[in-house]
């Protein structure tokens, strides 16, 4: 194994585990990443040495907690190139971020008869909230198809755009296909008809360099748990002009300016959208988590090694008879491989692979319309992070071949 990867792996105690006596191969990263030791340690610190509620207290632990919490927010702002820290809203995850926009943006800016565009490759979390919003606000949902290899159909998209479109909500990268969407083109075209763009960055944040200012997207949503931070924390970045005009999503402690039974006024950004006690310890963990993510992105040797592992994976999958991976050769695919195999059921394959130490995901992967476009029984998904290596790819391929052989 090359040094860059083996050094990077040292941050993750979990990766040296074995399951059923076999070395663990964790290829379920698109579901959730492993957590590095620095994140686990900060989480402990926040629970044990700086365990307090933030903001309005003056005692020592509360001040420590508040500072660490704020550092988490600053780390997020820096990582995605947000023009200001106040535009980083903490939520419980990507799903909550998107629901917040689907509610509050539509309430403020969308009227009956307007249209919202999504793509065929959306995760349910960037699909169902818009279906619900369409129902409430009398809006029409339009769906941009994806091509056979998982590419976003730009032509079809352009043809759908009109002054009636108020929101385009697309994934940065599909959690099934791993294909990066042409965001600059999508965003430019949307803006030309006056529509806002929300990017579902749950996977994109992991496999791209995100700069929301350069992208010029209106909203960007992602979760902590897919990029080394804990569960229960997510981010909504938004442009100030929208955030300031949108009504709050939830009411409660900390999001208000003054409260009386007659009239309540809301606090400034980001507090207006952060009602109640937030996931303080998880939010703080963004600092070490994103620090590590940045380190990985800037580590050329690590990236080269990851690219080599992915190439090996591509070649090996290509050589298995009856295996179909729609986006395998799409040049915009990164990190994620979803496929199905003639004559075997994905659930059977995964169950056997598990016993050989290999963790993958199967089924409809919260993207039912997309998966069913290709196959009815669901797919098998292997997803890699920078800590994964070629040796694991080989163990994965061996397990896969053995499982298929047993099942056919």
């Amino acid at each position: 194994m090359d040094k860059a990867t083996s050094d990077f792996r040292k941050h993750f105690a979990a990766l040296s585990a074995s399951v059923y006596g076999k070395p663990l191969v964790y290829f379920d990263n698109a579901a959730t990443s492993q957590r590095p030791d620095c994140v686990i340690e900060l989480q402990r610190y926040m629970s044990q040495e700086a365990c307090a509620n933030v903001h309005r207290a003056v005692h020592r632990m509360a001040m420590d907690a508040t500072d660490l919490y704020q550092k988490g927010r600053e780390a997020v702002a820096a990582f995605i190139g947000s023009p200001s820290v106040e535009q980083i809203i903490f939520t419980s995850g990507t799903t909550a971020s998107i629901n917040m926009v689907a509610n509050c943006f539509c309430r403020a800016f969308v009227r009956k008869g307007d249209q919202i565009i999504i793509s065929e490759a959306e995760h349910h979390s960037n699909l169902v909230p818009w279906q619900m919003a369409c129902l409430w606000y009398g809006v029409q949902l339009k769906v941009v198809p994806v091509l056979a290899d998982g590419s976003f159909d730009l032509e079809a998209y352009y043809a759908m755009l009109s002054k009636d479109v108020k929101m385009v909500a697309v994934t940065h990268m599909s959690n099934v296909l791993g294909v990066k969407n042409p965001l600059p083109e999508i965003i430019k075209a949307a803006h030309s008809v006056g529509a806002a763009v929300l990017v579902d960055g749950a996977q994109g944040i992991v496999h791209s360099n995100v700069d929301v200012s350069a992208l010029d997207c209106d909203f960007y949503a992602f979760s902590g748990h897919k990029i080394y931070a804990p569960t229960g924390i997510g981010v909504l970045y938004g442009k100030k002009e929208w955030l300031e005009q949108m009504p709050p999503y939830m009411g409660g402690g900390d999001m208000v300016d003054t409260v009386s039974f007659e009239k309540t006024t809301y606090g400034p950004l980001p507090l207006k959208f952060e009602a109640g006690t937030q996931n303080i310890s998880a939010a703080a963990c963004f600092a070490p988590a994103l620090n590590l993510a940045l380190e990985a992105k800037q580590n050329d040797a690590l990236q080269t090694s990851l690219a080599a592992s992915e190439k090996l994976m591509t070649e090996q999958l290509d050589s298995i008879e009856g295996l179909h991976c729609p986006s395998l050769h799409n040049p915009l695919r990164r990190g994620i491989f979803s496929f199905y195999i003639d004559g075997v059921h994905p659930a059977d394959v995964a169950q056997i692979m598990d016993k050989m130490g290999v963790a993958v995901r199967t089924g409809l992967m919260c993207a039912e319309p997309l998966i069913k476009k290709y196959t009815q029984k669901g797919m098998i998904r292997a997803s890699l992070m920078p800590y994964n290596n070629a040796q694991e790819v080989l163990q994965f391929i061996e397990a896969l071949k053995r499982a298929v052989k047993m099942l056919r």
Partner: protein
């Protein structure tokens, strides 16, 4: 044989395997050999919800005893069902309704038993017991 005796036999059979892979080979074999339900019986009524693979389970009574037939699009699931059928086929509704299904745990498939588990083994057992209870009343 009683439900308990058959369960015991299955536990003994499985005790021969010390490798996970052998256990699965065996389950896959059982799955492949299982006589399947006829297509007409694959209805919404016999479909078991909550499984990652689709599972149909039908039941009929002959001379006061119950007989099951099933199918699934996943072969390991089929293997597991065939064990369940082997245990419960030809038993009385009353015995089935009160039966302890701990052999699953004993043969090392316990991990399939959690209520939130994708493969729905618990849903299958619950369907079998529901059938049994429906014949008691």
């Amino acid at each position: 044989m009683t439900i308990k005796e058959i369960s015991q036999t299955i536990v003994e059979e499985f005790s021969m395997f010390d490798e996970w892979m052998d256990k699965y080979e065996y389950l896959i074999d059982l799955g492949k050999q299982m006589p399947v339900i006829n297509e007409a019986a694959k209805t919404d009524d016999t479909l078991i919800a909550g499984c990652q693979s689709r599972v149909w389970l039908d039941c009929e009574m002959k001379d006061g005893l119950l007989y099951f037939s099933a199918d699934s699009d996943a072969i390991i699931t089929k293997g597991i069902i065939s064990l369940l059928i082997r245990v419960f086929n030809g038993q009385s509704p009353k015995d089935i309704a009160v039966a302890n299904v701990d052999f699953i745990e004993k043969i090392g498939l316990k991990e399939n038993l959690s209520p939130t588990r994708a493969n729905g083994l618990l849903a299958m057992i619950s369907k079998i017991k529901t059938y049994a209870r429906s014949f008691i009343k």
